[in-house]
Amino acid sequence: MELKKQLIISIGREYGSGGHRIAEELAKRFGLTFYDYHMLGEIALDKKVDVKTLEKFDELPKTPFFSRTVKGYSNSPQENIANLQFDFLRKKADEGESFVIVGRCAETVLKENPNLISFFVLGDMQDKIERTMQREGVSRGEAEELLARHDRKRKTYHNHYCKIKWGDSRGYDVSINSSRLGLDGTADMMEEYIKKRIAE
């Protein structure tokens, strides 16, 4: 689809909600660049460093008692990686690039950009567990554990950098439960919403 002006779609998501897949689908439908953790590859290439070092600390909360901040400078690898990604996103947005971004506090980092449309995708626990069991090939118990762990990390990570709490509907344009319409149906609804917004 041909875009007349910049379009940035940010998608926050619960683990197992299918938010990542929906984001990929929307990127395809609108012909946009898709950024998730692969963004680190681009950063690593630009900075001429090993991407594996960066990936270790991606979207993780900083470790309490092992981090210190002095005059705004932090030793925390997690915090420094997060800031590298935030700077990357701001740069891309300032350059006028259109893209879809998953996570990384994008709804807050890019909130000043008038062309940003932000979503938060959640899901029913049962669906999230089943999807995780299928995708990761793990038992129900393991899936529940994975869900709890990942969501706890995402929440801590997000809430460290943003005033509005992770998943709080007031922080996003739209919050949607993917269990109601299924992944494709949810993507369709979000596509419609985006089309209406960009037609304004």
Binding site: T53, F57, P64, S67, V70, Y73, S74, P77, N80
Partner: protein, 450 residues
């Protein structure tokens, strides 16, 4: 007893909040200072004297605060205003120097002098880091040195991480050599009326010997890594050091002020000028000569650090007034059985281990009254314990990424360019270097003073 418990609790809460890193440090210490004044001095002690002694404002209006005329002035408890005025003065001077492009010019001049060869740059930058940190706070030294190292790493195609790690360590080491190099030393020096010459002939000698060993150590562990070309690119053009100078007149003035500050500090025992006078003097001269940059220079002053110091001294004053620090001194005295060897070892190693994990400034401020009591109780020379405390707090902080401010700043500066250094990588090189210096300091103090 209630006052002692309250003072200890406030102190522990302050330390915990500082470590948790959720609230800005100056807000924590100022908040705890207010609680100390109200709860410890007011509710528990009903003592106006304890409050006025801790606030220590009267000291500023004494002649001895500004001019000692060859005689040591009385040691005083509470807020160490000399430290605060001196640190503020140095901040103003450094702001002026940075604005004129002094630090970048110096780094580039040295790089050019060694013909932009990586290993000679590595070695000379380690020495430069130490020497600059003897007179300027290590955060400023690392801020500029790390930035130039990144620039040179990009130009000359080497990995900047080993070089910055070595520079950070050497900055902390250089800071231990002088009275004005590291905040713990300023606190120790001004509290115990020690001079610049006292430091340079004692901790300076230990730091000098250690520096040679540390440079050899870092060369041995990093030289192979530094010789590896990252991308194989060819250097197009070398930068001209002169391009770093933003304003020739400001540059000349700030260089002269810096050299004057060094001379005044080196000779302050002879001239009788205290560090507070020197700090105030260089601040005034810097501001007068800043011209239209005056607002920028004033704005650059890190007032949060100054407020942090003020709050900290009040909280430590609470421990002092309630004799808690005396109890700690008695405990160390009884553990060591009055043996100076053991006392020195405890001071150095406990200070080092504590400083590796917690801010060394509150630790040093707390330990100064402890070593004063320890010396008085056991008839030991206070300066022997002071050198142990200085070396322990200054160098212990080098062992971990959070031990000293320079470490945090250095890690952060290189991280902005994608060079992420975790605890494992940092400690792998820094812990052995710290142990080398601690052994030199312990053995050196034992041989010379015990």
């Amino acid at each position: 007893m209630a006052a002692q418990i309250a003072a200890v609790l406030i102190f522990l809460v302050m330390f915990l909040l500082i470590i948790m890193d959720k609230i800005e440090r100056h807000i924590i210490t100022l908040g705890c200072a207010v609680v100390t004044m109200v709860v410890v001095f007011g509710i528990c002690m009903h003592s106006m004297t304890a409050l006025t002694e801790t606030l220590n404002v009267a000291q500023i209006f004494t002649r001895g605060f500004w001019y000692t005329a060859g005689e040591a002035s009385e040691s005083s408890a509470g807020i160490n205003w000399a430290t605060i005025i001196f640190v503020a003065g140095m901040m103003i001077m450094v702001e002026g120097m940075a604005a004129a492009g002094f630090f970048r010019w110096l780094c580039m001049t040295i790089a050019k002098a060694v013909k932009y060869k990586v290993i000679p740059i590595f070695i000379t930058f380690m020495f430069m880091s130490s020497i600059l940190a003897m007179f300027i706070d290590s955060i400023t030294v690392i801020l500029f040195l790390a930035a130039v190292t990144l620039e040179l790493a990009d130009l000359l195609d080497f990995d900047p991480v080993p070089m910055v790690l070595a520079e950070i360590f050497c900055a902390n080491l250089g800071g231990s050599a002088t009275m004005c190099g590291d905040p713990p030393n300023i606190i120790v020096g001004t509290s115990l009326q020690l001079t610049f010459a006292d430091f340079i002939t004692n901790t300076g000698v230990l730091a000098g010997i250690s520096l040679i060993l540390v440079v050899i150590y870092y060369y041995l562990i990093f030289h192979k890594e530094l010789r590896v070309k990252r991308t194989g690119k060819v250097v197009a053009e070398y930068p001209d050091p002169k391009s770093a100078i933003t304003n020739k007149t400001s540059f000349a003035i700030s260089t002269v002020i810096f050299l004057c500050a060094v001379v005044l500090l080196v000779t302050h025992a002879q001239t009788g000028l205290t560090v507070a006078t020197i700090g105030l003097g260089i601040a005034i001269v810097t501001l007068i000569t800043s011209g239209k940059n005056i607002v920028k220079v004033i704005k650059g002053v890190d007032y949060k650090t100054l407020l942090f110091f003020i709050g900290l001294f009040v909280v430590v004053g609470g421990l002092e007034q309630t004799n808690v620090l005396k109890l700690i001194a008695e405990f160390i005295g009884s553990v060591s059985g009055g043996n100076l060897y053991v006392m020195v070892a405890i001071i150095i190693w406990v200070s080092a281990i504590a400083s590796a994990f917690v801010d060394n400034i509150p630790f040093a401020a707390t330990m100064v009254p402890v070593i004063q009591s320890l010396a008085a109780l056991n008839g030991v020379n206070i300066s022997t314990l002071a050198w142990g405390l200085s070396m322990g707090t200054d160098i212990g902080g080098s062992a971990t990424p959070i031990g000293a401010s320079a470490n945090v700043v250095g890690m952060s500066v290189i991280a902005k360019e994608g060079h992420i250094v975790g605890w494992g990588k940092y400690c792998k090189s820094a812990v052995p270097a710290t142990i080398i210096v601690m052994v030199v300091a312990t053995v050196g103090i034992w041989l010379r003073y015990c």
